[in-house]
Symmetry: C2
Subunit: 196 residues, 2 copies
């Protein structure tokens, strides 16, 4: 979507132009390398306007991919957790989101991506937004962070599939707190354990 | 699909009628409770003909859900593995199938089910066919088998999603043997470890 030249777009046109530029940019170069400045340039607006409409780059990303939750909720929980408790906090936070009012939206987005949607954007969200917030803390030995992150993603993604899509019992019906407790030692091993 | 009365169906009509009856029956009551006899009755053929065309109930199931692999391959590997090595053998067997010529078919089937296909049939396949073959061996303490199976399904399903659908690195590119080794202790804990 582009803004027609010679015509001043209304608020909604500007907002949509920014979102379209953000989607294209995030898909093209990923979350980290897509700067607000480059997105603003592609949408032919000032960077300040992007911040005015969407706040942070994370919030812009969430809006661009129609994420039905504020990633700040997840990021704060992760960043505030002691390293030794991340194995519990990560699945508990995810399960809380999936079981919340926003859950059906998350599951629907996940299913549509599985069906052939843009996997680059989910990959970016999982790796560069959610899990990148712990990357430095789990990069031990140095260079192991990406492997640890992809292993954690495999467990949490599988939890979403079994609990919310396939409905495999008893995982589908157990309280979130109980499921988090059951998988916690496994997630913790991926985060901080010996992988050799 | 039903056979028109007053007309003797050809071989291909009979085969299709059996498959249609099998699909309906498996979806309705699950793998365990769907007997060859009841499927034959619904297709208006003799049970012997079902065995003649499809062999075992597992093979009939695989044909009914268009499974691009022979489940016997998976089942044999699982049944022959010592309990203490199942945590390695299970992911290694699955990874071998996904990386094989049959892999694209498995991934395509998985994606289409995620998109809104019949989840009852996958649930049945995972729980009642593949993992049921280990159920008795891992039911310790008694009554824990279903929980253990659903946890294993969450890890293996997540591996399929990250490696084959989302392509999250390095899991997407590591040799199957290496991925199996990395997740093995986690799968083994779900199978035989302390879950309290």
């Amino acid at each position: 979507m582009s803004i027609r030249s010679g015509r001043r777009p209304g608020q909604s046109g500007t907002r949509e132009a920014i979102l379209a530029a953000a989607r294209a940019r995030f898909a093209e170069v990923g979350f980290d390398k897509a700067s607000i400045r480059s997105i603003a340039a592609a949408a032919e607006v000032d960077s300040a306007l992007v911040h005015h409409y969407f706040g942070s780059k994370q919030e812009l990303f969430a809006a661009a991919v129609d994420l039905p939750i504020d990633p700040a909720f997840i990021l704060e929980a992760i960043q505030n957790a002691p390293l030794a408790e991340l194995g519990t906090v990560l699945p508990r936070t995810m399960l809380t989101v999936w079981d919340s009012e926003a859950g059906p939206g998350v599951v629907a987005a996940f299913r549509s991506i599985m069906a052939g949607g843009d996997t680059a954007l989910v990959r970016t969200f999982i790796v560069q937004v959610v899990l990148a917030s712990v990357r430095d803390r789990i990069d031990n030995p140095k260079g192991s962070a990406d492997l640890r992150i992809s292993l954690v993603a495999s467990q949490l993604g599988g939890l979403l599939v079994t609990r919310k899509v396939l409905g495999i019992e008893p995982i589908a019906s157990l309280p979130a707190e109980e499921v988090a407790r059951l998988v916690a030692p496994n997630v913790q091993r991926y985060l901080t354990g010996d992988l050799d």
